[in-house]
């Protein structure tokens, strides 16, 4: 990072008033990692609480606030901003050969809105009566709750505005600011994936905004959208909420897949297998189908039987485009020349985690099986595998992959690999045993399980795994700090990638290139002997 020759004041001014897409991206990263750290701490506290029957370290009210914060911050504060804030902002102009995003000032606005959201979310621990409504905030509980539901609504609204601004900005950037000769047919997979994600954000974020606004209006202004005694309907909220929040899963998944595609191609020195099918069938298919499956979150909610069956079919069909993407990732390994650096290890780890997480989605998609495992720890284990952990592996792998470029320093390979191994073991102990705890009937969002004391040993194992997982992430953090303070200077292209972002200087200066590159004869995946 740039030095502070003119003193701390100038350094801060340079960063706070920055409109450079790379600095905006890095500030997004810092905010989202802060959210990850606090929400991760909550996860550890939750696991300690569940490690024995009966109250262990706290009372139900505090526990429910932890659960609320863990869910809301991990999704809205960590994964979405890290992927659509950091990676998209920092990477897309570099990958398409642009000097910056289309609207740099709008970009800065979206960044600082996001930071306001992070601060508002962290105030949860300061205000009296913090929200205890879970990240889903279902009414009537979110309206009856003594907690400050308004905090939730405003955090979501602010983060939502940040997302919309970011979406408009980067879609415009991808469409209009590609370098000469950078045709659609040779964009990086990450660019395609992020384009899909931003389209979903633009369509669906306003619906979440509507839903959370309606809750606060019901609670504080006396409207009755969700009050059946006045003609409202409690199921309306769940439909609105999941109409956004299911696509939100794909807003996370798509950039995650994009990062994995790019890491795998670079370290296997190989072309993307069946690029066109992966783009149009895989990414396009996911974008199209993701908005038509939300009722699978409502299989046990008393929706009409026929729509639960229809959505079962559309949910199962999601496996088709996702399967095409997986096929393409694995196919990229075929006849490659694979080098196992830390980012590649995370990508390989991702493939296995994603397989387990994705395939356990099939019993959940079948509504008759879901009637049993719905809202149990089975689904908790499933979405942690497929979204939380697989997504985080892609984010951490991506940070390692681009680390030399955005910090200008190399990291310590041994520390990086050690962090991966410990995390990977911890993840599997934690979440694989959680499948069994869930299948034994443990409902989610439970403070205690006095009625099922036989599950205590299972919960102990999950908590044990969670501690290994935490140690793994701490090693990763140490390796990053070590690199920042003691890392060797990085060359321009340490991985020998052919992608455009590696042709800039390290770290890239303002404007990215001395001259905008001519991409007529360029191919980001032009490997081959």
């Amino acid at each position: 990072m740039s030095g502070s020759k003119g003193g701390v004041g100038k350094f801060l001014k340079e960063w706070i008033f920055t409109i450079d897409h790379k600095r905006v991206g890095i500030l997004y990263l810092i905010g989202s990692l802060a959210a990850f750290a606090v929400a991760g701490l909550m996860a550890m506290l939750i696991r300690v609480e569940l490690s024995s029957v009966g109250p262990t370290i706290t009372d139900p009210n505090t526990y429910n606030v932890w659960l609320y914060f863990h869910g809301a911050a991990m999704i809205l504060g960590f994964q979405i901003p890290a992927l659509t804030g950091f990676f998209a902002n920092w990477l897309i102009p570099l990958q398409i050969g642009a000097r910056d995003v289309a609207f740099p000032r709008l970009n800065a606005l979206s960044l600082w809105l996001f930071w306001m959201g992070i601060i508002l979310a962290l105030l949860t621990f300061v205000v009296p009566n913090p929200p205890d409504i879970m990240w889903t905030a279902y009414p009537p509980y979110s309206i009856l709750s003594p907690g400050n539901t308004a905090f939730y609504s405003f955090t979501v609204l602010i983060m939502g505005f940040a997302s919309i601004a970011g979406g408009v900005n980067l879609i415009t950037t991808i469409i209009y600011m590609r370098a000469p000769g950078m045709r659609w047919g040779k964009l990086n997979m990450f660019v395609w994936c992020t384009l899909g994600a931003f389209i979903l954000q633009l369509i669906f974020v306003p619906i979440l905004g509507t839903a959370v606004t309606m809750i606060s209006m019901d609670k504080y202004l006396g409207t009755t959208f969700f009050s059946p005694t006045h003609g409202g309907d409690v199921l309306l909220y769940q439909n609105l909420f999941w109409f956004y929040s299911h696509p939100a899963v794909y807003v996370i998944l798509l950039p995650v897949l994009g990062i994995i595609f790019d890491i795998v191609a670079t370290f296997a020195r190989n072309r993307i297998f069946n690029y066109k099918v992966a783009v149009y069938g895989g990414i396009g298919g996911i974008t199209l189908v993701s908005g038509e499956v939300w009722v699978h979150h409502l299989y046990a909610s008393g929706m009409p039987n026929w729509i639960r069956v229809g959505m079962m079919m559309s949910t199962l069909l999601i496996s088709v485009p996702v399967g095409l993407c997986v096929l393409s990732i694995i196919g990229t390994l075929y006849r490659g020349a694979i080098e196992f650096k830390t980012p590649m290890l995370y990508a390989v780890g991702f493939i296995f985690l994603f397989l387990i997480g994705g395939l356990t989605g099939i019993p959940l998609a079948l509504n008759s099986l879901d009637l049993y495992i719905h809202d149990t720890h089975f689904i908790v284990a499933h979405f942690h595998y497929v979204m939380a952990v697989a997504g985080t592996f892609s984010i951490v792998g991506g940070i390692y992959y681009f680390w030399p470029k955005f910090t200008g320093k190399m990291y310590n390979e041994t520390l990086g690999k050690l962090g991966f191994v410990v995390t990977f073991i911890g993840v599997n102990i934690t979440f694989f045993s959680m499948f069994f705890v869930g299948f034994a009937g443990m409902p989610r969002r439970y403070f205690d399980y006095a009625q099922m004391p036989q599950l205590e040993s299972g919960h102990r194992l999950v908590t044990f795994g969670a501690f290994i997982l935490a140690v793994g992430f701490l090693i990763t953090l140490v390796s990053w700090l070590h690199s920042l303070f003691a890392g060797k200077p990085a060359p321009d292209n340490p991985w020998g990638s052919k992608s455009l972002e590696w042709t800039t200087s390290t770290p890239p200066g303002p404007g990215n290139w001395a001259e905008v590159p001519d991409c007529e004869n360029f191919d980001p995946y032009g490997y081959g002997e």
């Binding site: 139900p60 429910n64 279902y138 009537p140 509980y141 009856l144 005694t229 409202g232 309907d233 409690v234 199921l235 020195r269 190989n270 072309r271 069946n274 099918v277 069938g281 046990a300 008393g302 039987n305 079962m312 199962l316 069909l317 496996s319 088709v320 399967g323 997986v326 694995i330 196919g331 390994l333 075929y334 006849r335 490659g336 020349a337 080098e339 390989v348 296995f352 397989l355 019993p363 079948l366 008759s368 099986l369 009637l371 049993y372 809202d375 149990t376 034994a440 009937g441 989610r444 969002r445 439970y446 403070f447 205690d448 399980y449 006095a450 009625q451 020998g496 490997y527 081959g528 002997e529």
Partner: protein, 247 residues
Amino acid sequence: MRRRFYPLISLLMFFVLAGTSFASSEEGHDLASSDIPDSVEGFKHLWREVMIDITVIGVFFALVTVYFLITYRRKRPGQEGRPVKLSRAAVFGWAIIPVFVFMADDLYLGAQGWSLWNSYRTPPESSYEIQLQSSMWSWKFTYPGGVESYNEMRVPAGKPILVRMTSSDTIHSLFIPDFKVKEDSMPGRITYLWFYPKETGEHLITCAEYCGMMHSSMAGKIIAMEQDKFDSWLASEQAALKAEEGA
């Protein structure tokens, strides 16, 4: 030019065929009382099948990945991959064939899931109906004749039980792990589930929809009793109720 549409047309035909096979699976649950479907058995059967299915797929993909990772590791510095150049036919083949395989599996499992769904959601006509009102944080059961009980649902064994439910405050979910079933109860709507206690015994009830502070303590039980014992229990409760009303 026409040829382009062949995959599309065959895909459509596939759906139509799949649809007709679904239609036939929808018949045949006009049930006599002696022929009550056992959803728990159905669940176990389908669960086993799905587990085998996903294990086979998962192990297959994992083995292929491991094989590639070992075979195609970099053997000398600066080595590059030898990408395959797919012909036009191969591009379509690698799209259409996996799509059909994935879809076939989806539709196969979906069809079975659907028929089990029908048995889960079609209460037999001979069902004994109990009403449930949930509230923060207890379950109130009302039996035909007005007898009420809290957190204990007494049922006659050997009879399918239909629970119709609503809620007086927030959303709860009646979860009966032993019968592999749950359904939300909420204010303003009436929902239902049914289960079939074949033998006498006790079963756990617990809440599966987050409902605030005491969510995890909202447990109760089902007590399946022999029919005559259940009848006499209900009669005595009814008598007590009448005495109370008369007083």
